[in-house]
Amino acid sequence: MTGNPFATGSASDAAFTAAAGRFFELLKTFTTAPAAAAGQAPDLSLLGAQLAAQFEQWLKGSAGAGASFAAAAGFPGGSPGWPPGAVPLGPAAAGHGSQAQQAWELLMKLGSLQGELARYWSEIAQDAAQRFTARVGGTGAAGLTSEGALALYETWVQCAEEAYAATVRKDDFCRLQAQLANTATALLLAQRRQADALARAWGLPTREEADALQRQLRELRQQLKERTAAPRPSAPAGKAAPRKAAAKPKAAAKPKAAAKRRHAAPRRARAGRRGRS
């Protein structure tokens, strides 16, 4: 998912219509299932193959499953946007040979891991289809009512979740997923180093320098807090002076007005909540 699909009406409509579209596509597949000849079990192999193919496609592109792993791997189509995609360095970075080589190797490794992941999606899809055809057995689609179709859909979701859970809990799947995330992160950092080298050459501030400044700022804030948290000589009688003296930072006395200002500031997807939780 990119952002909050329920922050705007059109995006929310899109989330629902997409779900509805997939649902009807699935129903179409159900209704094409062959009916059993008298006294014989129906051949559900075609239905199973169709379901598996649709399901595998969905797994690869879904925000709920495939795309989150793809995103962790920094691949196009991985929508959540973290780590950020490839840094568009282009030929300007070619001068940094070893860094460029490292980034290239990481990119190749990601491709290979993505290939391994695709095999798991295929395994899950096949497994789900097998579970489904075994469970529905000779239930034909002829004369299917709306409620019957919805019951069939519920069975399909149950089979899909079971197949998915059986695979994604496996140790090798978990390791692969972590490898994908780690490799994608390493690639991002390698590319950042390249970008930093360029920035340094052009006299621009680098990520390293920004981090160093943040650390200094943290230290200064900490020092300020320690100094301002010194015992107050004129703590009012009856108050919990020892406790306050030991712990209360000066910033805790920030004026309420400041807090109110921040509360009123517009924030993403929070419009309409002002003054309420």
Binding site: G3, F23, A63, S68, P83, A240, P249, K256, S277
Partner: protein, 359 residues
């Protein structure tokens, strides 16, 4: 003549009509509001804001000890006050509690080095100290939810004198139970690399949570709503819930990776090896009476991850209760509406939440 509701054509026509009707109701529900109880900001530091909920008209003005609610970093706290009929906050206000809520805000790039201890001591600690000072008391009642429950346990262990009663909802203490899929996925992440990569967007965490049960969470629930003949009110309830689910703040890089490493990968809380700000966090130091409510069908905090709490804390007064619902159901289901507030209020009443003046 065939029944128009059977056969492919009738089937698609019927379900298509149902979906179109629900979509029309969804369009009307676009601008639905979330959050229902009036509140005011009373303290803030950096991105953290402490809110005080205003008393409800007609509610008893009981002399109760203030109750501070500490929610997770990974979601917004307004889920506890989403709408009047499911609002836990409103039920507490009706019972006469003085309710405060920590809002962690949205970390930006300047917060990427912010540590868990900063959230605990400056954020939660700042809120606690403000309330104690404002009321002239030594201790308050603390309610921690999900990750906020973990923070509340840690805070209670480090500052036992400041917490009179502790309530935890959907709170894990054992992060490596066999049924914890999230934990399995976290196990081999390189947290050093992650910390260097920067803040993690909320959208990514959402995708991760959805990936735990992708078909139910990204398909089935929409299809059920579209085809189930939901009325306008049910559609609006659904949209409020969805808005909350997808409204997740980004996560400060260092704090998030510390949480992943120390809790999920190293399970330090139950191993007794957790240190925050150079101080050991010993659950045996949690001596306040504790009410632990967890969900028996929780896919994010499995029941076993929470149920073990009683064995680990130092309090002799421990009450645990498994609620027959899922993780989100703890906040918005019928149980959330009835059983959970009732249990919390009765338990706090029985544990002397009546306010005693500061010595």
């Amino acid at each position: 003549m065939s029944d128009p509701r059977t056969g492919p054509a009738g089937l698609f026509a019927d379900l298509g009509t149902r979906a179109a009707e629900t979509l029309a109701r969804l369009r009307l529900a676009r601008d639905v509001e979330v959050g229902c109880s009036a509140r005011r900001a009373v303290w803030s530091e950096e991105k953290t804001t402490l809110y005080e909920y205003l008393p409800l008209a007609g509610a008893p003005r009981a002399r109760r000890r203030p109750l501070l609610v500490c929610f997770a970093l990974v979601n917004r706290p307004y889920i506890l006050d989403l709408q009047p009929d499911t609002s836990l906050i409103r039920r507490l206000l009706k019972a006469g509690f003085q309710v405060y809520m920590v809002d962690w805000g949205d970390p930006d790039d300047g917060d990427r080095l912010r540590e868990l201890n900063d959230y605990l001591e400056q954020g939660l600690g700042g809120c606690v100290r403000h309330i104690l000072d404002a009321h002239g008391i030594d201790s308050l009642d603390l309610m921690g939810v999900c990750q906020g429950g973990v923070f509340s346990l840690c805070y209670s262990a480090l500052h036992p004198a400041q917490v009179a009663n502790l309530v935890t909802l959907t709170t894990a203490v054992d992060f490596q139970t066999p049924d914890d899929l999230l934990s399995k996925w976290m196990r081999d992440l390189d947290t050093e690399l992650l910390a260097q990569a920067g803040n993690v967007p909320g959208d990514l965490l959402n995708a991760l949570f959805l990936a735990l049960m992708p078909f139910r969470l990204t398909q089935q629930k929409y299809v059920r709503l579209l085809t189930g003949g939901a009325d306008q009110r049910a559609v609006e309830d659904f949209v409020r819930m969805e808005r909350w689910i997808f409204d997740s703040p980004p996560q400060a890089a260092v704090a998030l990776t510390q949480f992943v490493r120390w809790f999920y990968q190293e399970n330090r809380l139950i191993r007794g090896t957790l240190e925050l700000g150079g101080r050991a966090v010993d659950l045996k130091s949690v001596r306040a009476p504790l009410l632990n409510l967890y969900a028996s069908a929780d896919h994010i905090v499995p029941p076993a991850a929470s149920a073990v709490m009683g064995r680990l804390i130092g309090s002799r007064d421990y009450t645990a209760c498994a609620i027959d619902t899922g993780h989100i159901g703890m906040y918005v289901s019928r149980k959330a509406r009835e059983e959970i507030p009732q249990r919390i209020i009765q338990w706090l009443d029985a544990h002397g939440s009546a306010l005693r003046p500061h010595r």
